[in-house]
């Protein structure tokens, strides 16, 4: 009995000492014809008959255990060899095997940040066609055919349709579709009759914010602008209004924010003025409300238009609008 236990202990020790590299030597020592196990088997007939059966059984168990251990050791050895053949793969300094990765356009990253803010403020989202009727793009926005403000627009025409020149073209559509009270963002592509340059582009992306309800006034416009601009630039921004004129708002104004880069001291981004021109805004003209089926005596509202490209360029310090719209992947994937 003790002999078997002795062999088992001896094997454990040898297993550690010989290791995987010498698995074959270990096999010879224990399992070959002249190995330790064979010698023990030869010993069985010499034992007293009442011990043979039990000894044989335990010897078999020991043999199986040793065989299994040596087999495992041999397999580990061959795995290790093939592993080391593929040695290259364990060099972490080598570049990884990367599946194709995508990225949202920086314009839409900025847009979606803005949308998130407006969503929290309770705004809905509404869109309309790019190829628009003259009615929604001009007439319903209080641009009569002879109106001098039409000179400010340079419009691409397709038959009796126009490629919408501003996201405001969706204002009357939204009023007609959603009714009042209304708080909505109207996003989309707009077109101008322009050649491509660093500052001008024939196609760009903007949205209108439109709020109509009872008792809405300039103060609500001011609060909304301050709130969303502060949230977007992640600091409390100072807003400045300059009187301006668009036929579809009255009062109308241009809105500047105190330059978020230099704090108003004057820098490259704000052109030294300390102010960033951000957007045009105003109270919805009663004619527009009427076209939208809303009683201007009871309801009033405000609207403002945000150039998403302008906001993106400000936020990411991009100075050439072409980078946004030409599709250069090296540039776009970096942001």
């Amino acid at each position: 009995m003790n002999e078997l236990e002795e062999v088992a202990r001896q094997f454990e020790a040898d297993l550690l000492e010989f290791g995987a590299a010498r698995a074959e030597e270990l096999r010879i020592k224990y399992l070959s014809k002249k190995g330790i196990i064979s010698k023990l088997i030869e010993k069985i007939p010499t034992l007293p008959p009442d011990q043979r059966r039990d000894f044989g059984k335990r010897l078999n168990e020991l043999k199986s255990r040793i065989e299994a251990s040596i087999k495992q050791l041999a397999e580990a050895q061959s795995d290790r060899v093939s592993f080391e053949v593929k040695l290259l793969d364990n060099d972490l300094t080598l570049e990884g095997k990367r599946p194709p990765v995508g990225n949202k356009h920086v314009l839409f990253k900025a847009r979606d940040e803005l949308f998130e803010i407006f969503k929290h403020m309770g705004f809905s989202f509404f869109d309309g066609p790019e190829l628009e009727t003259d009615f929604y793009n001009f007439e319903a926005l209080n641009f009569p055919p002879y109106h001098p403000a039409r000179d400010m627009q340079d419009t691409l025409m397709v038959g009796d349709m126009v490629l919408r020149t501003h996201s405001s073209a969706m204002q009357v559509r939204a009023l007609q579709a959603l009714g009042v009270p209304l708080k909505a963002i109207l996003p989309g592509r707009v077109y101008r009759r322009e050649e491509v340059s660093a500052r001008k582009y024939p196609v760009f992306y903007q949205f209108d914010a439109l709020v109509v309800g009872e008792g809405i006034g300039v103060g609500h416009l001011k609060w909304t602008l301050e709130t969303f601009l502060s949230a977007f630039f992640k600091k409390k921004v100072e807003v400045r209004f300059r009187p301006s004129y668009f036929p579809f708002v009255e009062p109308g104004n241009e809105v500047d924010v105190r330059c978020v880069f230099c704090g108003g001291k004057g820098c490259n981004v704000c052109g030294g003025t300390g102010w960033l021109e951000i957007l045009g805004a105003g109270l919805v003209h009663p004619k527009v409300l009427e076209y939208g089926g809303v009683d201007p005596k009871r309801f009033s509202g405000f609207a403002f238009g945000v150039g998403v490209d302008r906001m993106t360029m400000l936020k990411y310090g991009i100075n050439d609008i072409r980078l946004l719209y030409e599709g250069d992947v090296r540039f776009l994937s970096s942001l």
Partner: protein, 739 residues
């Protein structure tokens, strides 16, 4: 508009700095200061008289003269001399090239020997302003001065006149709604000459060149008082009378520009007894214009209504300073005063003698605007008393529910306009910020919702781009696009057509990247495409994907995109979106050979997938294989209810079947093998083999069918029975098992 600050400030009794005025303008009025140029010269620059007959010397003092080297001047005129440097500088050298011919000395005919600084009233500032088109009343110096005086509490020097001439009517008349007032001033003994120095200087400050005394004086009134005027040669007016009327359709006129303009009833004209002699408010006629021989002038001082002038101007494609001002709104009062002022100045200048003044229509100095004080207060977010304070400060009157305001305020007609006026009056800083408190339920247009979902999913694998949706004539030709919508008035042929699909512009983006040494790209765009549809145009919102170059980009693993790589990513996107799509092999006009297919959702065609034809790529010199897919968002559902997949409680068994079938048959046709097999939970292709053992034209497809039950472990007997049925079906389908 451009002017010198002194031209503005002379209308105020008090002295105010330009900085103060500018701050007020920008904050309270629809005016933008575009540019300002400071004007000043050294006191040592003095005007000296050309004393010698040869015109080559000026007298410095009684004893000395300074020679003029650059030119010859008339004796008796005055030239600016720099006594410090002892030479005669050019206007540019003095920094006055905005006012005088840049490379010539500054010369006056009737001046004194005074410092130039004093003569020109320097220092001064040249100001360039842009006024928004609703404020005709601010588009001239007097109007600006009037408004600033109201705002800053200054005393305005109102224009006045001492001259009086006999007034009458009959020589001028109005027969159109488009003319409110028409005043005609008759001048006799007219002498058309060069303008005096002061008038030239006035116009130079306005940025205008001098033409002759008559024209210059009318321009002076245009830019100073915002009153366009026109001088007819009275003796060339047949019947010696004029009428304001709409033109007749067969009439025409030779304009001052020398071109013949064909008129119609949309054009408002001034006509003599027989023919149009001017396009009202836009441009005069050549035949009735003043010439150096003119002896009698009929001066027109009128107010034409904005839409009428705008319509004529657009109809003829002619824009002038006068037409632009009329479009913005000229005061419907003051025509008589302006006519008389012109007469008085003409008389002083020796230009002619005013003898008669004819008036048609009537001047209206005020107008009434209905108002609702509560609405004005709500719109402006300001208390009502501020409105009454403004009314009082402005000198307006309230009569019942109406406020009486000056007629030159064409822009004020509604409560909203009064609210605008009120907000400008107090300044936006004084308006309180009021939070939006009303709850409005959330909604999102389905297209926007779909775009949002697709953008999130697609941008995991593809770089999003945003491209110009316009194509060039060359693109249309190279891509053989037959169904395209043309823009009627393209800015150039580069941007002349609307894209009929996203492929047309994504290919261009691939080329741009290739030209910038970026060969490996995988991009997508969401945008509108435009397809001719009967007589109209159908706009569809699409998503397009393009991949090209390497799928595994790392140098060690370089592996180009394959059909299945591309489809795999699309499957990921749409599976995450929550829809399962049907993919069918299908030849496509734009796709290479058999590398094309249509994708369906719910039986409707969602889009197309394929490899772009090499002819198209070659036409653009686009290298490599270009994988492309485009889908119509309208076909996708906007809300998808995903079904949860509960954790698997009992293991599935599986069986492999190697089926020999013709190469041309799509593997999707194997689905018939498993139809109705409740035990088969999913099946997948694990191997495809082509080779001699199978025979030409055949492939061996090994499919693995997973079988199981939700509530128990399946037995091998059940699996065997199902497998036998499947093998029967293989035979029924005309295929056989690979032995």
């Amino acid at each position: 508009m451009r002017f010198a600050y002194s031209q503005l400030s002379r209308f105020w009794k008090e002295a105010v700095s330009w900085e103060q005025v500018k701050a007020y303008l920008e904050k309270h009025l629809e005016v933008e200061v575009e540019n300002e140029i400071a004007l000043d010269v050294a006191p040592s620059v003095k005007l000296l008289r050309v004393e010698t007959e040869d015109g080559k010397h000026v007298a410095k003092d009684e004893n000395t003269t300074i020679p003029i080297q650059t030119c010859t001047l008339e004796e008796g005129c005055y030239v600016a001399v720099d006594l410090g440097a002892g030479d005669i500088p050019t206007a540019r050298q003095l920094g006055l090239e905005e006012l005088f011919a840049a490379d010539e000395p500054i010369v006056f005919k009737d001046a004194n020997c005074v410092p130039l600084k004093e003569y020109l009233g320097l220092p001064d500032t040249l100001v360039k302003l842009s006024v928004l088109p609703n404020r005709g009343d601010l588009s001239h110096v007097f109007g600006l001065a009037r408004e600033v005086a109201l705002g800053l509490g200054l005393t305005l020097a109102e224009p006045h006149v001492s001259l009086d001439v006999p007034k009458g009517n009959g020589r001028v008349s109005i027969s159109t709604e488009g003319c409110l007032v028409y005043v005609g001033l008759l001048l006799e003994d007219v002498r058309v000459t060069e303008s005096p120095d002061w008038l030239k200087l006035e116009l130079a400050k306005y940025g205008q060149r001098s033409i002759n005394n008559v024209v210059d004086l009318t321009n002076y009134f245009l830019f100073t008082y915002g009153q366009p005027m026109h001088a007819f040669d009275f003796d060339k007016l047949q019947g010696q009378r004029v009428v304001v009327r709409q033109a007749r359709s067969n009439e025409s006129i030779i304009t001052l520009g020398g071109e013949e303009a064909h008129l119609d009833e949309n054009c408002m004209v001034i006509a003599d007894e027989f023919r149009p002699v001017a396009v009202a408010g836009v441009i005069g006629g050549k035949e009735s214009a003043t010439t150096p021989e003119t002896k009698r002038v009929l001066l027109e001082v009128a107010c034409f209504a904005p839409p009428y002038v705008a319509t004529s101007s657009r109809r003829l494609g002619i824009r002038t300073d006068a037409s632009m001002l009329f479009e913005r709104g000229v005061s419907p009062a003051g025509q008589t005063l302006m006519g008389l002022m012109f007469g008085e100045m003409a008389q002083k200048m020796g230009m002619g003698t005013p003898v008669a003044l004819w008036i048609a229509g009537s001047e209206q100095s005020s107008k009434r605007v209905m108002f609702d004080i509560d609405r004005v207060s709500k719109l402006s977010s300001l208390p009502t008393q501020v409105f009454f304070e403004m009314v009082q400060k402005r000198g307006w009157n309230i009569e019942g529910s109406e406020v009486v305001i000056p007629s030159y305020r064409w822009d004020v007609n509604l409560d909203d306009d009064l609210a605008d006026e009120l907000v400008k009056y107090v300044g936006y800083d004084a308006v309180p910020s009021l939070p939006l408190t009303e709850y409005v339920g959330f909604s999102e247009t389905p297209t926007l919702a779909k775009e949002r979902r697709l953008r999130e999913l697609s941008s995991q694998y593809f770089q999003e781009v945003f491209l110009v949706s316009l194509l060039s004539d060359r693109d249309v030709e190279l891509q053989k696009l037959t169904e395209v919508v043309a823009v009627d008035n393209p800015v150039s042929m580069e941007l002349a057509f609307l894209r009929p699909n996203l492929r047309s512009t994504l290919i261009k983006a691939a080329l741009l990247n290739q030209n910038r040494f970026k060969e490996n790209i995988h991009i997508f765009e969401i945008g509108s495409v435009f397809v001719p549809d009967g007589n109209g145009v159908r706009e569809e919102r699409h998503i397009g994907f393009l991949a090209k170059g390497l799928y595994w980009e790392s140098a060690l693993d370089r592996e180009t995109w394959t059909y299945r790589h591309f489809k795999g990513l699309l499957e990921n996107i749409f599976t995450s979106y929550g829809v399962s799509l049907e993919w069918e092999n299908h030849q496509l006009p734009w796709a290479e050979g058999n590398y094309g297919g249509v994708v369906k959702y719910g039986g409707f065609v969602l889009g197309e997938v394929g490899i772009v034809k090499s002819q198209i790529c070659q036409a653009y010199d686009l290298k490599g294989t270009v994988f492309f897919a485009e889908f119509n968002l309208a076909v996708l559902p906007h809300e998808v209810n995903k079904q949860p997949q509960w954790p698997l409680k009992y293991p599935y068994s599986w069986r492999d079947f190697s089926i020999v079938m013709p190469v041309s048959e799509p593997v999707s046709s194997l689905s018939i093998l498993f139809e109705g097999e409740a035990l088969v939970r999913e099946w997948t292709v694990v191997d495809i083999y082509h080779g001699e053992k199978i025979g030409n034209g055949y492939k061996s497809v090994t499919v693995r069918a997973y079988m199981g039950e939700d509530e128990r472990t399946v037995t091998s007997d059940e699996v065997d029975i199902a497998a036998r049925r499947i093998i029967e079906r293989i035979k029924d389908a005309g295929w056989h098992l690979r032995s």
